[in-house]
């Protein structure tokens, strides 16, 4: 792995093609990650799937109509059908009782089907010159050239600039569209602008990741970033950074390892980042949450034993001078780890063990137990648990 990394770095420094590929993939990850953050926040995760599939007929149509394979021509075609698809989804949902998921599925599959029909026609009637088009299915970063990079970088810069320009509006739209409307913002028009930017971000990535898998570059970076921060600004930055990292790693790996397709490799890289974030992020991470819950449970167990011991001791005129066996405590609370809880109480100076193995509260422990009982903490109901 390390050797591969060093190899990748030295190759990156010397190889022009590889540098193009790496830069292009990183740029695509940056833009789709940043825009994806908004899509995920607005619960449009799967809209990206429909848009990217719907770009295929646009690409093939653009080629069939112009005979050109210039990146800008194909991108314009892709953007047009992708955009049309997103509008159709909105129309179906607004004008009928069909739900969003069904509308997405229908538009996605019929547009993609149209793409396949056109692709097969192009293959059969337009000769071999179309050979470059099926790389849009799964992407082929290795085929990126300087002209592609210029197109991608130009469009990417445009998208990011628009994002900065409308930052406040998009933020409001994503978190409280009704409030945005009440402030007099043109909500519908802003939604269309934001969705159009998403379409552009998707189109930029099609050549590298492919129409089938592009949706992952919308959803996964934002999902990963969401685990690390609660601030929109940082979310967008992080999502962009994660996307760029995955693009870079995936493109380099697929260029260096034989027969490793680019799109799937990038997707696996971003998925790995997302899964690691879900597990190990400090606040929202599942491991951290599990540890917190375990600590919490432990504390409750200790409190419960303290309460039991206090309830027993309170039956005696001199509470601190009344030792009780651990077995009694176990019988009272039916909880595991009574001895561990007693040990913890001893460590904090609230209880101590007599020579005969029985336990008594220290004066501090009596005070703590009374406090616990009086504030009504769990396991401290008076009158229950008579020995």
């Amino acid at each position: 792995m390390l050797a591969l990394g060093i190899g990748a770095l030295s190759a990156l420094a010397t190889d022009y093609t590889l540098r193009t590929v790496a830069l292009g993939s990183a740029a695509l990850g940056l833009v789709s990650g940043a825009l994806g953050a908004f899509a995920v926040l607005r619960r449009q995760s799967l809209l990206g799937d429909a848009v990217s599939h719907a770009a295929l007929p646009g690409i093939v149509l653009a080629f069939l109509l112009t005979g050109s394979k210039a990146p800008l021509v194909l991108v314009v075609g892709a953007a047009l059908t992708g955009w049309l698809a997103s509008l159709l989804v909105l129309l179906i949902v607004r004008a009928s009782r069909i739900k969003l998921d069904s509308a997405l599925g229908i538009v996605l599959s019929s547009f993609f089907g149209l793409g396949l029909v056109l692709l097969s026609l192009a293959q059969r009637h337009a000769g071999a010159s179309q050979a470059g088009l099926d790389r849009f299915l799964f992407g082929q970063a290795a085929a990126l050239v300087g002209a592609d990079l210029v197109t991608m970088a130009g469009l990417g810069a445009l998208v990011l600039a628009a994002l900065l320009l409308f930052w406040k509006e998009f933020k409001l739209l994503s978190f409280d569209a009704a409030f945005a409307g009440s402030l007099g913002l043109p909500v519908r028009r802003l939604e269309v602008v934001l969705t159009s930017l998403l379409v552009l971000a998707i189109v930029i990535g099609l050549q590298t990741v492919g129409v089938v898998l592009m949706s992952a570059m919308i959803v996964a970076p934002a999902t990963a970033a969401r685990q690390w921060t609660d601030r929109l600004g940082r979310l967008v930055l992080l999502a962009g950074a994660f996307g760029a990292l995955a693009g870079l790693v995936g493109a380099l790996l697929s260029s260096l390892v034989p027969r490793l397709p680019t799109g799937p490799t990038i997707v696996l890289a971003i998925t790995a980042i997302a899964v690691l974030s879900l597990l190990f992020a400090p606040q929202r991470g599942l491991v951290a949450a599990r540890l917190r819950a375990a600590r919490q449970r432990r504390r409750l167990q200790v409190d419960a034993v303290l309460a039991d011991l206090y309830r027993l001791a309170a039956q005696h005129p001199e509470p601190a001078a009344a030792p009780h066996a651990a077995a009694v405590l176990r019988a009272m609370s039916e909880r595991h780890g009574v001895l561990r809880s007693l040990g913890r109480l001893a460590e904090t100076g609230l209880a101590r063990e007599d020579a005969d193995g029985r336990w008594r509260l220290t004066p501090a422990g009596v005070a703590a137990g009374r406090r616990l009982a009086e504030t009504g903490a769990p396991g401290a109901e008076p009158g229950s648990g008579e020995p």
């Binding site: 009928s96 009782r97 599959s109 019929s110 993609f112 149209l114 097969s120 998925t271």
Partner: protein, 380 residues
């Protein structure tokens, strides 16, 4: 029509077989797809159809036979696993369900593609076949039992799966219906929502595996969702929805295959387009829930509302000092009500035709019917 033209419409035996496979597949998909659509899980069919790929690939590496039933089982298991993973992620509370779907299936699909391209490059399992299906070759793959040709293997496989779906939907109709429309009540009555959910998901996965030869993974969602969604615009009864969805699915398959044969284009793609078009047409012209009906209704409501407003306006001023002034048509056109002349004329003539008002020059009189309409609108 001359005999030659007629002959060109006649289908050859392989074409009939392809058509039969396509239509049987469409019916099987529509049966389970209807419930996915109603349960708002349409995109789950997309997710399952993509993510069964690694299951198929891994099972293929083990048994080295694309026709093995183990492939079907492994792929179906992967489909169920996908749904399980999506729910696990969703339940962790860290991401929404759509994001969970969007995270899981591209990852599993990518895994499948990487496995194929890296390790199965020179065997009969290429990405195009998996993605797009190879229905055109289906008639060459025969089911031979004791040397006798029983027809295309795919027809038997898909026919079996479709019959299974039909049996499951028929036997558990009541349970599926209840769990779909009132999950809470179903749970109260002792039906396990999880059991029904995973039962459905298992059927969807099986159907996806069976259909993958015919239509490919990506276009499965077209046959699963578009016909039921179209049927949903035509009927409110579940059993009719199922029947109509199956019919529309078969129709789309037939139309799609016909177009593909005529154009010499991708069959799977053409069937998906046909499904989308069938939905599109019904979306436009469905009697009560179509777009045109909706537009017409909204327009009618606009005029009806304006007529009611007119009746209320006249009723409010009946018998008060301004009655003569307020009940004149030219007054309505003025600044007080703010209607344009054309709009006012249309509303008044519509109201007159409906018998809500009578006209004497510019002066409008409310009829008994109009008074009733105003009172009813105000009482609401």
């Amino acid at each position: 029509m001359n005999p030659d033209a007629l002959a060109s419409f006649a289908l050859s035996a392989p074409q009939i077989e392809i058509l039969a496979i396509a239509m049987v597949t469409a019916v099987g998909c529509a049966l389970v797809g209807s419930f996915l659509m109603l349960r708002r899980l349409a995109m789950l069919s997309d997710a399952i159809s993509h993510s069964i790929l690694p299951g198929i690939v891994v099972a293929f590496f083990v048994v080295k036979d694309l026709a093995s039933p183990w492939l079907v089982l492994a792929a179906a298991a992967t489909g169920v696993l996908t749904v399980f993973l999506v729910e696990l992620l969703h339940r962790s509370g860290r991401l929404k369900e759509d994001a969970a779907i969007g995270l899981v299936f591209p990852a599993l699909f990518s895994l499948g593609i990487v496995l194929i391209t890296r390790y199965a490059g020179n065997v009969h399992l290429d990405t195009d076949a998996v993605l797009l299906g190879e229905l055109a070759f289906a008639p060459f793959d025969r089911l031979l039992v004791a040397g006798r040709d029983l027809g295309p293997r795919h027809l038997w496989v898909m026919g079996g799966i479709t019959l299974l779906n039909l049996a499951a939907v028929t036997v558990f109709f009541k349970e599926l219906k209840l769990a779909t429309f009132d999950a809470g009540l179903a749970a109260t009555l002792g039906l396990s929502p999880a059991l029904i959910h995973y039962g459905l998901v298992t059927l969807v996965s099986l159907t996806a595996v069976g259909a993958f030869d015919a239509v490919g993974l990506i276009l499965l969602v077209a046959l699963m969702i578009a016909p039921p969604a179209a049927a949903y615009l035509l009927t409110d009864r579940l059993h009719w929805l199922l029947v109509v969805a199956c019919g529309l699915g078969a129709l789309a398959a037939a139309l799609g295959y016909g177009a593909a044969a005529a154009l010499d284009a991708s069959i799977a793609g053409s069937m998906a387009v046909a499904s989308g078009l069938v939905f599109g047409v019904i979306f436009l012209v469905a009697p009560r829930r179509g777009l045109l009906a909706e537009v017409a209704r909204r327009r009618r409501q606009k005029w009806e509302f304006a007529q009611t407003m007119l009746a209320i306006h006249l009723a409010q001023h009946e018998g008060d000092a301004d009655e003569e002034e307020e009940s004149r048509e030219d007054h309505l056109r003025g600044r007080h009500v703010g209607w344009t002349p054309a709009f006012t004329a249309r509303v008044v003539s519509l109201a007159e035709r409906r018998g809500l008002v009578t006209r004497a020059g510019e002066r409008l009189h409310l009829t008994e019917l109009g008074r009733g309409a105003a009172a009813k609108a105000l009482a609401r």
